[in-house]
C-alpha cells in the first residue's frame, strides 16, 4: 500500500526511488492528483459564482484561512499516513497558546520564555499521546479522545485557577511580544496585497513534510507503519519511535498554530479549539490520505486545506444566505472529495 513500490525492476542494486518512470505515469500515481482537480473545480466554481473572489485581497484572505488550517492538516496527514489519528489536535492548539500566555504573564517573564516553555509542554503532550498509544496498544481513538477531554478540562480549569477568568490576561505590553508577533502573526506585502505570515509557515511545513516523506528513511518508516505494522516491525522499522515522532509532529504544528493565536489576538479564550480536530482530518482526507493509513501526501493535505479555505470563504464572497452556510460547506466538501476519489480511481485504473 505504499506509493513508492513499483514492482519488479531490472536493476535491483539501485534504490527503487531512483528508477526512471515516465512523467505522465508519475503524475497519475501521485495521491494529491485528485485533490488538485478538486481544488481547480472549486476555484473555477467560485470564480464564476462570486465576482469578488478573484481579487488579490480576497485570495489573500482565502490563503490565510487555508494556511491556519493547513499548518495542522499537514502533520495530521503524516500521522494518518502512519495509520493513526489525533482527536486532541484541536484543543492542543488552544493549550499551547494558553501555556505560553500564562507562563509569560504569571512569571512576568519575557514572552519568548513562555513560547519556549509552551513548545516543550506541547511536544510532551504529543509524546504522551504516542507513548500511551504504543505502550497500551489501545486504539488511537480512545487514547486521543481521553487526551482531548483532559485538555479541554485543563484549558478551562488551569486558566480559571491561574488567571481568575476564562480568558488569559493580555500580554501585548510585555517584552518580546513584538518580535513574537513578527514571527507568528505578522503580514508581508507583495504587490500592494497583504499576506499573513502563516502562509509561509504553511508552505515551509509542506516542504519539510514532503522531504521527510519522499526523501528520508523516516518517510519510508511512516508509510511502512501505516501500511502494515507487523510487516514493518518484521523488517526492523522502529514502529513505536515512528508513531511517537508523528504525534510530536502534530504537537509541533499545534504549537505554531497556538502561537499564531496568541500573538494575533494577545488574549486567548480557554474554550476555543473544540471541533477543529475534525476539520484537520477532513482536510487530510480531501487531500487524498486514506483513513486506514499507508497512503497520502503532505501536498495533498495542503490542497485539502486550500479547498476547505476556498469553500468556507467562497460562500461568504458569493453572499449566499448564511442560514444555509453549513449545508453549502458540507455539500461542497462532499463533492470535492467525490471528485477526488473518482479521479484517483481513474488514475489507478490507467496505470
Amino acid at each position: 500500500m505504499t506509493t513508492t513500490a513499483p514492482e519488479k525492476q531490472p536493476e535491483p542494486q539501485l534504490d527503487e526511488r531512483l528508477l526512471k518512470t515516465s512523467p505522465w505515469k508519475k503524475l497519475l500515481g501521485r495521491p494529491e492528483l485528485g485533490s488538485v482537480v478538486g481544488a481547480i473545480a472549486v476555484f473555477v466554481f467560485f470564480a464564476v459564482a462570486a465576482d469578488s473572489f478573484l481579487r488579490a485581497t480576497s485570495l489573500a484572505t482565502v490563503l490565510y484561512a487555508a494556511s491556519v488550517l493547513g499548518i495542522m492538516a499537514v502533520p495530521v496527514a503524516l500521522l494518518m499516513i502512519g495509520g493513526e489519528f489525533d482527536l486532541s489536535a484541536g484543543v492542543l492548539v488552544t493549550s499551547s497558546a494558553l501555556v505560553s500566555s500564562m507562563f509569560s504573564y504569571q512569571m512576568t517573564a519575557n514572552t519568548w520564555v513562555g513560547v519556549g516553555v509552551s513548545l516543550l509542554v506541547t511536544l510532551a503532550i504529543g509524546a504522551f499521546n504516542g507513548i500511551m498509544l504504543t505502550r497500551t496498544k489501545l486504539p488511537s481513538f480512545i487514547i486521543t479522545l481521553g487526551t482531548f477531554l483532559m485538555l479541554t478540562g485543563m484549558n478551562l480549569g488551569f486558566t480559571k485557577l491561574i488567571s481568575g477568568t476564562v480568558s488569559t490576561k493580555s500580554i501585548a505590553d510585555m517584552q518580546g511580544f513584538t518580535s513574537g508577533k513578527d514571527l507568528f502573526a505578522s503580514t508581508f506585502t507583495i504587490g500592494g496585497v497583504d499576506f499573513k505570515v502563516t502562509i509561509v509557515w504553511w508552505l515551509a511545513l509542506v516542504l519539510v513534510a514532503t522531504w521527510i516523506l519522499l526523501r528520508t528513511r523516516v518517510g519510508n518508516w511512516i508509510f511502512a507503519v501505516g501500511g502494515d505494522v507487523d510487516a514493518a516491525r518484521a523488517v526492523g522499522v522502529p514502529v513505536n519511535k515512528t508513531k511517537v515522532g508523528l504525534y510530536m509532529g502534530v504537537a509541533f504544528g499545534a504549537w505554531i498554530s497556538g502561537q499564531h493565536l496568541l500573538f494575533s489576538y494577545d488574549v486567548v479564550q480557554s474554550g476555543e479549539g473544540v471541533g477543529n480536530e475534525l476539520i484537520y482530518i477532513v482536510a487530510a482526507v480531501i487531500g487524498g490520505c486514506l483513513i486506514t493509513g499507508g497512503y497520502g501526501s503532505a501536498v495533498g493535505a495542503a490542497i485539502g486545506a486550500l479547498i476547505f479555505g476556498m469553500t468556507s470563504k467562497g460562500i461568504v464572497f458569493a453572499e449566499w444566505n448564511s442560514d444555509w452556510f453549513k449545508f453549502f460547506l458540507g455539500a461542497m466538501l462532499l463533492l470535492a472529495t467525490l471528485l477526488n476519489h473518482w479521479v484517483r480511481k481513474r488514475a489507478e485504473a490507467s496505470k
Binding site: 485581497t57 504569571q106 512576568t108 519556549g116 478551562l156 489576538y265 479564550q269 461568504v316
Partner: protein, 334 residues
C-alpha cells in the same frame, strides 16, 4: 526513551533558568498584583443561616460573559452569608438534569436560565413542588412567570437589539453586518432581528465558527471584501469585537465595529476609538441581583419587578464611559 527523558529534563531546567533571568519589566503578573493590593475584600454582612443557592446556566465552557455573572453572584453570596454553587451545560436536557440534581440536594434556592425553555419546564416545576424558590436570569423573560419563577432578571434580547438599531441610525449608518458566533442560538437571532427591526438601513447576518478565531476573522474579512458598502459590523460577544477590528483593517474597510457585551479589550477599544459602541447587559448585576433577591425572599419574602422582568440592560456604552469601565472590566465585574 531514556535519552529522550534526559533531554526533556535538561530542556525544562533550561527553560526555568531562562524564566528566572528573562523577565519582562513591563506588564505581567507583578503589575496586576500591585493593582489588586488596592482592592478591598468583602465579608458577610448578615448573620442569617448559611443557605445554599444553586445557579445552573446554559453557558458553554469558558465563556467570559458567564464568568462575570458568577463574579457578581459570588460577591453577593459572600455578603449574604450564602453557600453558592454553580454548574452549567449548553445542552438543554443536561441543564435540566443539573437542576434536578440541585433539587435532590435540597438547596434553599435555585437560579436558572431559560435559553431552552421547553427543556427546562419540567425541572422548574419540580423545584416548585419541592418548595424551592426559583429566580430566572439572563434569558427566558417570556416564560419565567409562566413557569412559576419568583422573578426574572436580565436583558430582553429583542429590546437590546432594537437599541442597537436606534444607535446605528443615530450614527447615520446605512448597511450593517450582524455577526452570529453560534448558529441556532435563539438569543442571538433575537438580537440581530431586533436590530434589523429598528435599523433604517439594510442589515445582513453572517454566521461564523465561534470556537475558531482565525475562521471568525477570515470570514468577516471575506464579507467586507465582498461587499464594500458595509459601514458597520455588529458582533454579539465581546471577544469577537477585537477580531472584527482586525478583519476590518485587513480588508481595508472603513466600517465601524460595534458589539454586544463588555470586556477589558472592548473598553480599551472604545477608548482608543477602534470600537463605536458596546451594548452592555450588565452580567455582574444579573448574578448579584439573583442571589440578593433570593436572600431577600428567604429573609423577608420580598420580590421585585411586580410580575414583570427586571431589566439589567441594554446600556449603551461609548467612549465617554469607557475610561471608568475599563478598570472594572479588568477586574472582571463589567
Amino acid at each position: 526513551m531514556a535519552r529522550f527523558r534526559t533531554w526533556v529534563s535538561i530542556a525544562v531546567a533550561g527553560a526555568l533558568g531562562l524564566a528566572l533571568t528573562g523577565c519582562s519589566s513591563t506588564g505581567g503578573k507583578r503589575a496586576e498584583d500591585a493593582r489588586k493590593a488596592q482592592q478591598a475584600q468583602g465579608k458577610a454582612a448578615v448573620n442569617t443561616p448559611k443557605w445554599t443557592f444553586s445557579m445552573i446556566t446554559h453557558s458553554g465552557d469558558g465563556d467570559t460573559f458567564w464568568d462575570i455573572v458568577q463574579n457578581g453572584a459570588k460577591q453577593a453570596a459572600v455578603k449574604d452569608n450564602i453557600n453558592f454553587l454553580y454548574s452549567h451545560s449548553d445542552e438543554g436536557n443536561q441543564q435540566a438534569q443539573l437542576v434536578d440534581a440541585a433539587i435532590d440536594k435540597k438547596v434553599d434556592g435555585i437560579i436558572v436560565t431559560l435559553a431552552k425553555p421547553d427543556a427546562m419546564k419540567a425541572a422548574v416545576a419540580r423545584a416548585q413542588k419541592a418548595g424551592i424558590p426559583v429566580i430566572t436570569v439572563n434569558s427566558g423573560s417570556a416564560d419565567s412567570k409562566k413557569f412559576g419563577a419568583l422573578t426574572h432578571i436580565g436583558q430582553d434580547e429583542t429590546i437590546a437589539g432594537e437599541a442597537v438599531g436606534d444607535e446605528l441610525n443615530k450614527r447615520g449608518r446605512k448597511k450593517a453586518l450582524c455577526v452570529l458566533h453560534e448558529q441556532g442560538n435563539v438569543g442571538h437571532e433575537q438580537r440581530c432581528a431586533g436590530a434589523e427591526s429598528t435599523f433604517d438601513g439594510k442589515m445582513t447576518n453572517l454566521y461564523v465558527d465561534g470556537t475558531n478565531m482565525p475562521d471568525v476573522q477570515s470570514s468577516i474579512e471575506a464579507k467586507l471584501q465582498a461587499d464594500k458598502s458595509i459601514d458597520s459590523v455588529v458582533t454579539l460577544g465581546a471577544p469577537f469585537a477585537a477580531t472584527a477590528v482586525k478583519a476590518k483593517q485587513d480588508a481595508g474597510s472603513k466600517a465601524e465595529v460595534d458589539t454586544f457585551d463588555l470586556n477589558e479589550k472592548v473598553a480599551q477599544g472604545l477608548q482608543d476609538g477602534s470600537l463605536g459602541f458596546a451594548v452592555d447587559q450588565q452580567p455582574y448585576l444579573q448574578g448579584y441581583e439573583a442571589v440578593d433577591l433570593l436572600w431577600l425572599y428567604k429573609y423577608n419574602a420580598d420580590t421585585l419587578g411586580g410580575g414583570k422582568p427586571v431589566l439589567t440592560g441594554p446600556q449603551i456604552v461609548t467612549k465617554e464611559q469607557a475610561a471608568k469601565l475599563a478598570e472594572y472590566a479588568k477586574r472582571g465585574t463589567r
